[in-house]
């Protein structure tokens, strides 16, 4: 693959050389033709003339051009002399002819245009030019734009020889171009000035973007990441990835998807007949045939993970069924053109093999009936995730409790769907004892009875996400985590468990949502193992509770992600307490914690969401402004 790459580069170089060779030939032809004309006027055409004629180059044309140029140069030389003397006699130089005035005005207009251009602003910012040198910079850009393009002819600024401009042609002292030989001479005396540092403030957006990706601002990125980015930059020149391991292929798939660069052409790079899984996170640019291609060229697929699959249609599923493909994991986002009939057929034919099923964003199909068929025909499902399926509601919830092998359950309905507590209780009662992860988002009015059921039935949970609820009470949450026989959780997301009565910002007497007692009980229960903790918008957790949880004798050795956004009580002191108790912390998210003004953070920590705070990283100070 890389050979091809190099080959192509070499090819380009050859082409360029080819051009300059033909340039030389033309020059030789000029001279040769003159000679033949003189020595052999009657003998007709020379072999060279024939050859040139066959390549559509007329010797006569070259000759006349040459004569014309010579004459013009002579005329210019004689014209210039008087004008020089004129300039010497009158101190302010006046344009000698109306043609010059037009030229000058055009030039000034061009420079004014350049001064308004983005390119100018960018260069000015980068180069740190002051206002006085604005004109110089504009003139410089103007000259650069008017310079000959590669492949055109130009006269060398130093030796006046005519030559072909190439991308490597150097600029002379007065802004003109230099021929190959003079370029070489020039290169030695002129060293590049050191690259100027970027002015502060320019990179702020990029820095924040990197922080959100969890990249810390100091030190270099890993070579692996740098290379993956580079490969993504040049993805359109790559013909084959060679034998990249699946883990790298997955990472590349992620980066390309993020850049929206997964196209029918780049798709080919990911199709490996011997691999059993495909993960593409952005399929919006593929069409129905491309899905067929994926299935046809990877017959051993057991895992299909495709997102933004707008053009997926019934035929694709029919193909899967015809081939009786051995698919165990099916993760599809936005497969909206598939009909209910087809979903039901799929579950009936292939459902018995499914181990995991994840579906997002279906609005025109997949109703309660289809969900019931799914629960009936896919008895071995271990993982089920249904998010934003518009047609589902309470009616199908009870069916989930019939999935006896279920270990991971993740549900999120549409905002408008009011979910009742009873069917959820039924699910927890029947499969709760084997559940390893449970995620229920936006079950806004489900009450404390769910927490009691979790307390009673769940033993094996490691991941728990209960978010966007305004009915759970602090008491109920505290009771869930106190004396819970479930093992310590590693992933806890309880964001936005809070009261939403706008008229009463402090909330009722008896706190609603995760407040002080619930938070303390949670950390008592899971503190030893928790790796990921999100309590954003749980705004009734008090300063005292934070102080108690992150007291001097407490240690949360595994915690690497903590989100406490919108906990407005958090200040510099609490941040230092948190950092002391969480030695493994890599990301700390603190949006809207305005009391954070001046903090000292260890290396390798990405502090996200501060506003105008001074952040000190082990001796490196950076002040950040809005």
């Amino acid at each position: 693959m890389i050979d091809r790459f190099q080959e192509r580069e070499r090819g380009e170089r050859r082409e360029r050389r080819g051009k300059s060779v033909s340039g030389e030939a033309a020059e030789a032809a000029e001279q040769g033709e003159i000679q033949t004309d003189k020595t052999n006027p009657v003998a007709g055409h020379s072999a060279l003339t024939d050859y040139l004629a066959s390549n559509n180059i007329s010797a006569q044309q070259i000759r006349t051009d040459w004569d014309r140029r010579q004459a013009e140069a002579l005329r210019q030389a004689t014209e210039q002399e008087p004008s020089v003397t004129a300039e010497q006699s009158q101190s302010p130089p006046v344009p000698t002819s109306p043609e010059d005035a037009v030229k000058k005005r055009k030039r000034q207009q061009a420079i004014a245009r350049i001064k308004n251009s983005k390119e100018f602003a960018r260069r000015k910012a980068r180069g740190g030019y002051d206002d006085d040198s604005d004109d110089d910079l504009a003139i410089e850009i103007h000259e650069e734009q008017n310079r000959r393009k590669p492949g055109q002819f130009a006269n060398c600024e130093i030796c006046d020889k005519r030559f072909t401009v190439t991308p490597y042609s150097k600029t002379g002292p007065d802004g003109g171009l230099l021929c190959n030989i003079c370029s070489k001479k020039q290169k030695d005396d002129k060293k590049k000035p050191p690259a100027k540092r970027r002015a502060t403030g320019i990179g702020r957006r990029q820095n924040q973007s990197n922080l959100l990706d969890g990249l810390t601002p100091h030190g270099t990125q890993s070579l692996l990441e740098t290379c993956i980015k580079k490969v993504a930059d040049y993805i359109h020149d790559i013909e084959d990835f060679g034998d990249l391991p699946p883990s790298l292929l997955l990472r590349l798939g992620q980066i390309l998807s993020r850049r929206r660069a997964v196209t029918p052409r780049t798709l080919d790079l990911f199709l490996r007949p011997q691999y059993t899984s495909i993960d593409l996170f952005d399929c919006a640019k593929l069409d129905t045939n491309d899905y067929h291609k994926i299935l046809a060229s990877m017959p051993r697929l057991t895992r299909v993970n495709l997102r933004f699959t707008t053009p997926m249609k019934d035929q694709v599923f029919h193909y899967m069924m015809e081939r009786d493909m051995n698919i165990k994991d099916l993760h599809l986002d936005g497969a909206n053109l598939v009909t209910d009939d087809c979903w039901r057929q799929l579950f009936t034919k292939l459902g018995h093999r499914f181990l995991s099923l994840k579906l997002w964003n279906l609005d025109s199909a997949f109703d309660n009936e289809t969900a019931k068929v799914m629960c009936l025909q896919c008895p071995d499902l271990q993982r089920l995730k249904l998010k934003f399926l518009h047609k589902l509601d309470n009616d199908m919830l009870a069916e989930i409790s019939t999935l006896k092998s279920l270990q991971h359950l993740s549900l999120r309905f549409m905002r408008e769907t009011e979910i009742e507590t009873e069917p959820v209780l039924q699910i927890v009662a029947s499969v709760g004892s084997q559940l390893r992860s449970l995620s229920l988002e936006e079950f806004e009015f489900v009450d404390d009875r769910l927490l009691q059921h979790l307390h009673e039935h769940c033993r094996l949970l490691t991941k728990l996400r209960l978010t966007l609820n305004s009915t759970f009470t602090d008491k109920g949450l505290a009771a869930l985590f106190t004396g819970w026989s479930n093992q310590a959780l590693t992933y806890v997301d309880l964001h936005s468990l809070r009261d939403v009565d706008m008229t009463n910002p402090d909330g009722p007497e008896e706190p609603i949502g995760l407040a002080s007692d619930g938070f303390i009980a949670l950390m008592e229960h899971s503190g030893s193992k928790v790796q990921h903790l999100n309590i954003a918008s749980c705004r009734h957790v008090s300063y005292k509770a934070f102080e108690q949880v992150f007291a001097e004798n407490k240690l949360y050795p595994k915690l690497n992600y903590l989100d406490i956004s919108f906990s407005t009580v958090v200040d510099d002191y609490l941040i230092q307490c948190i950092l002391r108790c969480c030695p493994a912390l890599q990301r700390l998210v603190v949006f809207a914690c305005f009391k954070i003004r001046d903090v000292h953070i260890p290396r390798g920590l990405a502090l996200i969401g501060t506003v105008g705070a001074t952040i000190k990283i082990d001796g490196i100070t950076q002040t950040e402004t809005i």
Binding site: F5, G219, T220, C227, I228, V231, Y234, L248
Partner: protein, 101 residues
């Protein structure tokens, strides 16, 4: 220039190019660090010489350049990415994966 305690280590490419770089710089790579760990009793650990048969000199040179670049900028913020010639990036990608850098 070699031995378990020497300050420098030698990395050898498939085609015999040798790169001598400081030990702490080389140990940014997890794979090289484990190879050089004296307690592992690997011959690399005893001699301070790692033969990396997988990579041609051109790739290993770039890896060494990265290791030094990484060391040079470890205390800077907002470091730009090192420049990588596009024709090398796939091979370098596999090398980076193997060497854990």
């Amino acid at each position: 220039m070699s031995g378990p305690t020497s300050e420098y280590v030698t990395l050898v490419s498939r085609d015999g190019f040798e790169f001598i770089i400081p030990r702490n710089v080389a140990c940014v790579s997890g794979t090289i660090r484990r190879m050089l760990d004296p307690s592992s009793k690997f011959s690399e650990g005893l001699t301070g010489r790692c033969v990396l048969d997988e990579f041609p000199g051109m790739v290993l040179e770039k890896v060494c350049e990265y290791l030094c670049y990484n060391d040079k900028h470890k205390n800077d913020i907002n470091v730009p990415d090192m420049d990588i010639p596009p024709e090398l990036c796939l091979e370098l990608l596999m090398a980076a994966d193997y060497l854990d850098v």
